[in-house]
Amino acid sequence: MERKTKINAEDGKQELMITREFDLPLELLFKAYEDAEIVEQWMGTKVLKLENKKHGSYRFETTDPKGNKYGFNGVIHEFTPNHKITRTFEFENTPFGVQLEVLEFEQLTDDTSKLTIHTIFESVEQRDQMLKMPFAQGINMAHNRLQEIVNKLK
């Protein structure tokens, strides 16, 4: 599969750049971020609140298969339809701190568009921890099952 999503995380910097080109018109791409019901579908999260305006706020909640709940929230600083969203992001009860996110939406052609997410962390350490999270989860999952595998092999 073609690598459409790019991550740029330079060593020693407390920022992160995510870029992605979509086979979608700009308006549809923006709508995926604007409409609470649609956000729920692709993020796999519950949208408890989503106020798309300056000084508005949002709160999402995800439940894992074990029933644990994880909350995410932030405040919206700029909301310019089909162009830009500036907001903060906080993963509740984690040591990741609060991040500043600048989302820019661009039209490429009538049917394609591009999203750039620029995330600024409080520190380099926090950024690196966040980057390692999906990896750590994958490894933990594997480790938990390792004993089981070894036993089967005996």
């Binding site: 999503t5 979509f22 995926a32 980057l131 390692k132 595998i149």
Partner: protein, 107 residues
Amino acid sequence: MNLRRDVFQAIADPTRRAILLLVASQSLTAGAIAANFDTARPTVSKHLQILTECELLEQEYNGREVYYHVNPKKMKELADFIEAFRKLWDDRFNKLENVMKKYKSKK
């Protein structure tokens, strides 16, 4: 929707991890690999197919026998934490794209 095979999906399964451990040190035939498991032979074949599709395993023909060995380049991806992060976002954005394509056709 076509199935996406990637290295992280591959290691999510305990049997597939065990297969990788087995062939890490030597090339083995499907039969020799299956002999290490209680699971049915077709199940092991399916796992080998998935591991080959996501390029963690490579096939090598020696006469009539097919030997499997690990692909070191792809195994390195497992150690690359940024790739895991990228994959997470790529999956999320693929979902967004699919959701919006359906949304468009509904209108």
